[in-house]
């Protein structure tokens, strides 16, 4: 599903947010990415989600080498293959939960009536079938994040990327959101979750640990830190 090799990301000012990350995530995995603040987790997720291109190295998503895709093609890739969930939800204020979710396929060429129908199904799937006409400000934090998840998955993308989806939620709502993500995983979606919550990460099948822009631990296989250092 995802293959990163020797990916680096250098920001203006010389910050090495990623320095030579290689990572393979198979279809159907549920992966936690953990690490201290500033270790490059969000940067990596942006690269995985094709929102940003690596400075060097290669990234391939669902068989596409993103270096060879134009901005338009990357947009089409995101529209059809990738769902995002953000810590800040990013719901449109003043629009009902239903219409927020329906926007999930706005750029997928699906007519409005069909989008609304699928949004209804997605909201039921995240347990908000009774909140379809509420505006974001009438929903709790946990409910908002579930609306955001419904929007991300209403088009059935094979890949779901979540950057600290529970970061703004209390424990109970966070657990609800995690249970929902597990359900989606069980239904076949590949999911990558960034989290600060150690306990939460430990409950997931695979953990990738990052520090200073490098992968320093991966429960799927043992990294070779010595070799990494030798390259520099």
């Amino acid at each position: 599903m995802i293959k990163l090799s020797e990916a680096t990301k250098v920001y203006a000012g010389g910050v090495h947010a990623l320095s030579g990350v290689s990572l393979t995530i198979e279809s159907g995995e549920l992966v936690a990415i953990v690490g201290p603040s500033g270790s490059g987790k969000s940067t990596m997720l942006n690269v995985l989600g094709t929102l940003d291109r690596p400075t060097s190295g290669t990234v391939s998503i669902d068989g596409y080498d993103i270096a060879r895709l134009s901005d338009r093609e990357l947009s089409a890739l995101r529209a059809s293959r990738i769902g995002f969930v953000f810590q800040q939800f990013h719901l449109a204020a003043g629009m009902s939960a239903l219409d927020n979710v329906a926007d999930g396929l706005l750029y997928g060429g699906v007519p409005l009536a069909e989008r609304r129908r699928r949004a209804e199904v997605a909201l039921q799937r995240v347990g908000l079938g009774h909140r379809t006409h509420h505006k974001p400000h009438e929903l709790s934090g946990g409910e908002r994040q579930r609306v955001a998840i419904a929007r991300a998955v209403m088009g059935d993308p094979p890949l779901l990327l979540a950057d600290e989806p529970t970061g703004n939620l209390d424990t109970a709502s966070g657990a609800g959101v995690m249970a929902l993500l597990r359900e989606l995983h069980a239904a076949g979606t590949t999911i990558v979750i960034i989290t600060h919550d150690r306990e939460l990460a430990d409950g997931l099948p695979r953990q990738v640990r990052m520090r200073d822009g490098r992968v320093v631990g991966d429960s799927a296989h043992t990294p070779v830190p010595l070799a990494d250092t030798a390259v520099t």
Binding site: N46, G49, L51, D52, D62, G63, Y64, L69, D71, R72, E73, L74, S75, A76, L77, R78, A79, S80, F84, F86, Q88, H90, A92, A93, G94, M95, D103, G104, L106, Y107, G108, G109, V110, P111, L112, R151
Partner: protein, 404 residues
């Protein structure tokens, strides 16, 4: 690598309905701001539509007037001789003009010189200077389109007796409201009975301040010399220019250069041209207002893009292409100015209706001004939205998403 290339990725086209919906998001979430920036455009367009509408309505009024009066009236007046003296029209000139083929009617007045007009024989209580006495042919009203407001016009009988018909201004100056067998005025030293009062004569305004008496009466009572000073003629509409060309030579074959020919309706038409120049100036001012409105829309759009960075980032993550983001903001700008344009056209039309109703003019807003106004609005909207839209589309998705 032996990997088979996956299928090409092509972004889906957005439906028009979705484009308009998405373009309207900003307007729906910030209605006050949308209203105010649309108002700027509306004021500019309303000003332009009202200027064009009012001027078109006033021209429609002039046209209506011209149509009622006819543009086929020509006047012949004596000019000056080669030695700078006042020329005279030969006595047979009226008959000669009547013999020109396309001429349909001829009439004349002759100025009776030196006879003052008084209301009484006592002290001249009213200043009657500026009033003139004319000998008039009986068929004058039909030819010049004059109408009697009160009383009657001269006939074959009254034209031989001391009877007078007053022009509208003359009646007012003399303080005479109605024709009346007992009402007499003094012209020179002869009492004339007021038999009628005319409405203002649009094509011969000099007669408004005149006292009109019969040709024979003028000769017998006031020593009138019998020379016509203005000959009026109507011709077939499509022959007016031809008649005009031969009129001077016909009126005075010996000295055509001593004859002046003019077309009174030209003065009314000249009013049109003068109005048009003034309209051009006002239209320019309206255009400036519209430009200012456009700057307002551009400002709103720039702010909108700044405020909605996170939304732009989200849309990119949902799969919006740069082009689709650009289209969204361009659409918003176009919707904003289109709203202003439609509002401005309605406002401008309302002002025109109000003003022309007040002036008792026919109402007219030319179609070209409405379509031109809306076209200008869309052009301004497109221009105002272009830069903000391009800026929005150039935002990197990650930077846009991380703005708080």
């Amino acid at each position: 690598m032996a990997v088979v290339d996956p299928p090409r990725l092509v972004p889906a086209r957005m439906r028009v309905r979705d484009i308009v919906r998405v373009g309207g998001v900003g307007l729906r979430t910030r209605p006050t701001r949308a209203f105010l920036s649309a108002l700027g455009i509306a004021i500019g367009i309303a000003a332009m539509i009202a200027v064009v509408g009012i001027s078109a309505s006033s021209q429609a009024q002039l046209d209506r007037q011209l149509a009622a009066l006819g543009t086929n009236l020509l006047t012949v007046t004596p000019g000056q001789t080669m030695f700078g003296e006042d020329a005279k029209l030969p006595p047979e000139s009226e008959a000669m003009i009547g013999r020109i083929g396309p001429v349909t009617s001829v009439s004349a007045v002759g100025r009776v010189k030196g006879e003052k007009i008084y209301r009484t024989d006592k002290i001249p209580v009213v200043n009657t200077g500026g009033l003139a006495t004319y000998a008039a042919r009986v068929d004058l009203p039909a030819t010049i389109g004059a109408t009697v407001r009160n009383g009657t016009w001269l006939n074959g009988a009254t034209a031989r007796y001391p009877a007078v018909v007053l022009g509208a201004t003359a009646a007012e100056r003399l303080g005479i409201g109605r024709a009346d067998p007992d009402r007499q005025i003094l012209i020179g030293d002869v009492w004339f009975t007021v038999v009628g009062i005319l409405d203002p004569v649009a094509l011969a305004p000099e007669l408004d301040s005149g006292a009109l008496i019969g040709w024979e009466a003028a000769e017998s009572y006031l020593g009138f010399d019998g020379y016509a000073t203005v000959v009026f003629t109507r011709s077939d509409e499509d022959q007016v220019e031809n008649v005009r060309n031969v009129l001077a030579a016909t009126a005075n074959p010996q000295a055509a250069n001593e004859v002046d020919v003019s077309r009174p309706s030209d003065a009314l038409s000249a009013k049109r041209a003068a109005g048009a120049a003034f309209t051009g100036l006002l239209l320019g001012l309206g255009g400036v207002a519209l430009l200012v409105g456009g700057v307002g829309v551009a400002n709103t759009m720039v702010i909108s893009v700044l405020e909605r960075r996170a939304e732009i980032g989200l849309r990119r993550s949902l799969g919006a292409t740069r082009g689709q983001v650009r289209t969204q903001f361009l659409t918003e700008s176009l919707l904003l100015s289109a709203m202003g344009g439609v509002g401005g056209v309605l406002l401008g039309a309302a002002v025109t209706i109000g003003y022309s109703t007040f002036q008792d003019w026919p109402f007219s807003v030319p179609f070209w001004s409405v379509s031109g106004g809306l076209g200008a609005t869309l052009f301004i909207g497109g221009l105002a939205g272009l830069y903000p839209a391009i800026r929005a589309s150039r935002l990197s998705p990650t930077e846009a998403l991380t703005t708080p």
